[in-house]
C-alpha cells in the first residue's frame, strides 16, 4: 500500500498525496475559515482586557486612570481596533452558520433559515442598543 512497495499486478502501489502545510492558502474559502478560527485569539484578548479593566476599577481611581493612560497607548488602541473588526467578522460568520445548526420548528413546520438569521441580527441590534443606552444615559 505504501509508496515504497514494489508494484506488482496483485499489489498495486497507491499514490498518497500529502496535504500541504499551506492548504489554507489554496482557496479563499479555506483562508476565510482560518481567519474565522483566528478570531478566537481576539476574543481571548477582549476577555483579558475586560478583566484588566475590572481589576483597575477595583484598584481605585489612580489605578483606573493609569489603566486609561495605558489603553490610550498606540499599540493598545491598534490591538483593540483590530480586535473589534475581528469580533464583527466572528459575529457575522457565526450568524451565517447558525441557521444550519439551529433548525427551529413552529408546530411541525421548520422556520426558514432567513428568519433564523434575521432573529440573530435583531438580537444583536437589541443588545447593542442596550449597551448604547447604558453608556449614554445621563
Amino acid at each position: 500500500m505504501a509508496g515504497t512497495h514494489v508494484y506488482t499486478d496483485y499489489h498495486p502501489r497507491w499514490l498518497r498525496r500529502h496535504v500541504s502545510t499551506y492548504w489554507w492558502l489554496e482557496k479563499w474559502a479555506y483562508f476565510a475559515f482560518i481567519l474565522r478560527e483566528a478570531t478566537c485569539l481576539f476574543v481571548a484578548w477582549f476577555v483579558a482586557y475586560l478583566l484588566l479593566m475590572i481589576g483597575a476599577v477595583v484598584g481605585g481611581a489612580d489605578t483606573y486612570l493609569r489603566f486609561l493612560d495605558w489603553s490610550a497607548s498606540p499599540w493598545v488602541l491598534t490591538l483593540n481596533a483590530a480586535s473589534f473588526l475581528f469580533m464583527i467578522y466572528h459575529a457575522i460568520t457565526f450568524f451565517v452558520a447558525a441557521p444550519q445548526a439551529l433548525v427551529v420548528h413552529v408546530g411541525r413546520r421548520p422556520v426558514p433559515a432567513q428568519l433564523v438569521l434575521a432573529g440573530h441580527y435583531l438580537a444583536w441590534a437589541a443588545a447593542s442598543a442596550l449597551v448604547v443606552w447604558v453608556l449614554t444615559r445621563p
Binding site: V19, K27, A29
Partner: protein, 246 residues
C-alpha cells in the same frame, strides 16, 4: 462558441510512475458536452488506457467525482463550455489514495459508512399483517434532503479536516446517519450516537463548510453535523442533570 477545448488529464500509472503527470488533449466542446464526455472521447478516440470511473451519466450513481480545476465536481454534471476557453485540468478526487489515473480508493469511506448503520434499525419489526409504517409528508420532509446523498464523496475531497486526519468519519457518513436519525420509523439513533460522538465523529468537524458548498445534491452535510453536535450536547446535559433518564 469555440468548438474545441484542451483537457489536462492527470495520469498515474503505478507500474511506471511514482507521481501524477499530466497529458493534454484537445477535445470537441459542443455546448451539451460535459467533462465526462471529453474523457470518454479521449478513451474512445485517443488513448484507451485512460482509467476513470463512471456509470449513469445523470448525477445519480456518484461514480464520476473528480477534481476539475481544483474543485470537486461530478464530471457528468459539469459542462465543458463553462470552462471555455480552457484549459480544463482534471485530477483524481483529493484526500483519497490514487489507484490509477483518475481512480481513487474508496475503501475508507465504505468502512466508515457501515459504522453509522445507514439503514432503518428497528428494535422489533412489526408483523407484515399490520401493514406498512405510515409517515406524513412533514415527517418525510425532516430527513428527505439528507436522503439525496449519492455517496459521490465530493464532500470528503473538499474537507481539509478529512485530508489532515483520515480518522475523521467525514461529512457524508454523518449526513446519512442523520438521514436515519430524523426518520420516525428508525430506532437506531442510540447505536449511531456511540459512533458519532467519538472524537473522530462529529467533534472532528470544525465547520469549514466546504462539504455543503460542493455537494451536487444540496444535502448540506455541514448542517447535519452541526445539528448533531447540538443533539449530542443536549443529550450529555440531560444525562448529567437527569442521570436516571427521567
Amino acid at each position: 462558441m469555440q468548438d474545441r477545448i484542451t483537457l489536462q488529464v492527470a495520469r498515474y500509472r503505478p507500474e511506471q510512475e511514482s507521481d501524477i503527470t499530466f497529458e493534454e488533449h484537445d477535445v470537441p466542446c459542443p455546448k451539451d458536452w460535459v467533462i465526462l464526455d471529453g474523457l470518454n472521447h479521449i478513451k474512445d478516440r485517443i488513448d484507451g488506457t485512460l482509467s476513470y470511473r463512471w456509470s449513469c451519466r445523470m448525477g445519480i450513481c456518484g461514480s464520476c467525482g473528480m477534481t476539475v480545476n481544483g474543485e470537486p465536481k461530478l464530471t457528468c454534471a459539469t459542462f465543458l463550455s463553462d470552462y471555455a476557453p480552457g484549459p480544463v485540468r482534471v485530477e483524481p478526487l483529493r484526500n483519497f489514495p490514487v489507484i490509477r489515473d483518475l481512480i481513487v480508493d474508496i475503501g475508507d469511506f465504505m468502512q466508515k459508512l457501515v459504522r453509522v448503520k445507514p439503514w432503518l434499525v428497528r428494535e422489533v419489526e412489526k408483523p407484515l399483517t399490520e401493514g406498512e409504517y405510515l409517515q406524513t409528508p412533514d415527517e418525510l420532509d425532516e430527513y428527505k434532503h439528507y436522503s439525496m446523498c449519492i455517496n459521490c464523496m465530493l464532500c470528503y475531497a473538499a474537507c481539509p479536516i478529512y485530508g489532515l486526519d483520515s480518522k475523521f468519519i467525514g461529512p457524508a457518513a454523518i449526513a446519512l446517519a442523520q438521514r436515519y436519525n430524523f426518520d420516525n420509523r428508525d430506532q437506531g439513533s442510540g447505536d449511531r450516537m456511540a459512533v458519532l460522538s467519538e472524537h473522530e465523529g462529529i467533534w472532528g468537524c470544525t465547520f469549514v463548510g466546504e462539504c455543503t458548498k460542493v455537494c451536487p445534491k444540496h444535502v448540506d452535510p455541514a448542517g447535519a453535523i452541526q445539528r448533531y453536535k447540538l443533539t449530542a450536547a443536549l443529550e450529555t446535559m440531560k444525562s448529567f442533570f437527569l442521570p436516571r433518564g427521567a
